[in-house]
C-alpha cells in the first residue's frame, strides 16, 4: 500500500448560486483518521466527493500526493476506496460477483476465498454471498458496499455514513475496519452518528 495523502486548500463548492462549502482547508494523511461532522446538509458528502474527484471544486484546490509528487489521475482508482449512501453495487449480481468485478477493475487480483473472508469479517455469512444483491436487506447491502470500498486495500479510504442501516454488530465491524486501515491509509469518515466522532484523530466540523 503506497502512502498517499490528500490536501485540500480553500476548497469551495457552489451549486448554481448556492454556496455549499466556502473555503475549507485540511488534509488526509496516512496513519490518521479525519472525521467530518456537522448537521444534515452541511456539506459532508460534498466534501468527500471533492476529495474523491467525483466533483470539481468551484474554487480552491484538491491534490493527491504520493511521495512529494502528484498522483496521476489515471491511478486514483487503484488507490482510492469509497462508500456512500448514493453509491450502489450491482443488484443483479451476487456479493461475490460484485467484488470479483471491482477487484479485477482495479487490477487487484483477489481470490474468492479472500473475498468471502472479507465479507464474513464484515458480517455477511458465506451462505448469503452467492445470492443477488437485489434481494438483500438494507444492512446486508451496506456491508457489500463497504467491502467494495476496502477490497483493494486503498491508500485513501473515504467513508460516508459507513454504519447507516447497520445493527450493533455491523457498527463494530465498521469500527474494526477503521482501526485496521488507520495505521497505513488516509481515512476520512463523514458521519451523523455521535459514536463515530471518537474514531477521529482530527475532526472537521462543517456548519450549515
Amino acid at each position: 500500500m503506497a502512502a498517499v495523502s490528500v490536501e485540500f486548500t480553500k476548497v469551495a463548492k457552489r451549486f448554481g448560486t448556492r454556496t455549499v462549502l466556502a473555503a475549507v482547508s485540511g488534509a488526509l494523511r496516512p496513519g490518521s483518521v479525519l472525521v467530518v461532522a456537522g448537521p444534515n446538509g452541511a456539506g459532508k458528502s460534498t466534501l468527500l466527493n471533492l476529495l474523491a474527484g467525483v466533483l470539481r471544486p468551484s474554487r480552491g484546490e484538491v491534490s493527491h500526493r504520493r511521495g512529494g509528487a502528484d498522483l496521476p489521475r489515471s491511478e486514483w482508482c487503484e488507490h482510492l476506496g469509497m462508500a456512500s449512501p448514493d453509491m450502489a453495487v450491482y443488484e443483479e449480481l451476487s456479493a461475490l460477483e460484485n467484488l470479483r468485478f471491482f477487484g479485477r477493475l482495479r487490477g487487484h487480483a483477489t481470490s474468492d476465498a479472500a473475498i468471502t473472508a472479507l465479507l464474513e469479517t464484515l458480517g455477511l455469512p458465506a451462505r448469503e454471498q452467492r445470492r443477488a444483491v437485489g434481494t438483500y436487506s438494507s444492512g446486508m447491502k451496506q456491508r457489500v458496499k463497504l467491502a467494495q470500498a476496502v477490497l483493494h486495500e486503498p491508500a485513501v479510504l473515504l467513508l460516508d455514513e459507513p454504519s447507516s442501516n447497520l445493527d450493533a454488530a455491523g457498527h463494530d465491524a465498521v469500527a474494526g475496519l477503521v482501526a485496521r486501515f488507520r495505521p497505513l491509509a488516509a481515512v476520512a469518515v463523514a458521519t451523523n452518528d455521535p459514536r463515530e466522532i471518537a474514531w477521529g484523530d482530527a475532526r472537521l466540523e462543517l456548519a450549515l
Binding site: 474523491a52 474527484g53 467525483v54 466533483l55 470539481r56 489515471s74 482508482c77 482510492l80 469509497m82 456512500s84 448514493d86 453509491m87 450502489a88 453495487v89 450491482y90 443488484e91 443483479e92 449480481l93 460477483e97 468485478f101 471491482f102 479485477r104 477493475l105 482495479r106 487490477g107 443477488a132 467494495q148
Partner: protein, 229 residues
C-alpha cells in the same frame, strides 16, 4: 503492463455487462425479438410484392437499414443509463479507468449489434425476397457498419446518461451523427446485392470505415470528458 491490464479491465466490464444482461433477462434475444417484430410489421404491411421490380435494390436496402437502426436504438441506449438509474455509475466511476469502461461497453454494444445483424438480415432477405449476390461484400459492409454504429451509440449513450436521459434523447442525438453512415451503408448493401465482385462495395466500405474510425477515435478522446462530469 499497462496495456495488458487495460485489456483485462475492459474484459471485466464486458463480462459484467454480459452477466447482467443475461441475468436481468433483457438479454440478446430481447433485442433480437424487437427487430423481428418490427420486421414482421414491415414485411406484413409492405411485403415483397408491393415494390416494383426496378425499385427493389434501392428500397429494400434502405428499409433494411432503417429497421436495423431502430431495433438497435432501443437496446444500445441503456448501456449507461442503467448505471445512472441504479446509482452504480458513481461506484464504477471510482473503480475503473474511463478507457476501460468505454472499451467494455463498446464491445458489449458491438456484440449486441452483431447478434442483431446475424438474426435479422437473413430473415429480412427471406421475408422480403431480397436476393443478395455478393455475400462476402455484404458481410464486410455489415461488419464495418456494426463497428461504426456501436461507436456512435456508445458515446451518445454516455452523453444521455449524464443528461436526464431517455431513449428519446438518444435517438435525437444519434440520428444526425448516423445519417451519413446509414446512407453509405445502404449504398454498400445495394452494391453487394447487385454484384458478386468484392470491388463493388469498396467505395462505400472506404467511407464507412473512415467515418467509423473517426467516430471511434473521437469518442475515445471525448469519453473521459463525458464520464467525469
Amino acid at each position: 503492463m499497462r496495456a495488458s491490464s487495460l485489456l483485462s479491465e475492459s474484459l471485466a466490464v464486458l463480462g459484467k455487462e454480459l452477466t447482467s444482461e443475461v441475468r436481468s433477462r433483457v438479454a440478446l434475444n430481447a433485442i433480437g425479438l424487437f427487430g423481428i417484430t418490427t420486421l414482421v410489421v414491415v414485411a406484413y404491411q409492405i411485403g415483397p410484392y408491393q415494390i416494383q421490380e426496378k425499385d427493389r435494390p434501392y428500397l429494400l436496402s434502405a428499409l433494411l437499414w432503417v429497421i436495423l437502426f431502430f431495433a438497435a436504438t432501443s437496446g444500445l441506449a441503456r448501456v449507461f443509463v442503467k448505471e445512472e438509474d441504479a446509482h452504480t455509475a458513481k461506484t464504477l466511476r471510482l473503480a475503473a479507468r474511463p478507457l476501460a469502461v468505454f472499451a467494455g461497453k463498446y464491445l458489449f454494444n458491438l456484440i449486441l449489434l452483431a447478434a442483431l445483424f446475424t438474426l435479422i438480415v437473413p430473415l429480412y432477405c427471406a421475408l422480403m425476397g431480397y436476393e443478395v449476390r455478393g455475400l462476402a461484400g455484404l458481410a464486410l459492409v455489415l461488419a464495418a457498419g456494426a463497428v461504426a454504429l456501436s461507436a456512435s451509440s456508445t458515446i451518445v449513450a454516455a452523453i444521455i446518461s449524464r443528461a436526464s436521459g431517455s431513449t428519446t434523447l438518444f435517438a435525437i442525438l444519434s440520428v444526425p451523427l448516423v445519417l451519413p453512415l446509414l446512407v453509405m451503408l445502404i449504398q454498400g448493401t445495394r452494391a453487394a446485392a447487385g454484384s458478386v465482385e468484392l470491388a463493388a462495395v469498396l467505395p462505400a466500405l472506404q467511407g464507412i470505415v473512415s467515418l467509423g474510425g473517426a467516430l471511434l477515435i473521437v469518442s475515445v478522446f471525448l469519453f473521459p470528458v463525458v464520464w467525469h462530469e
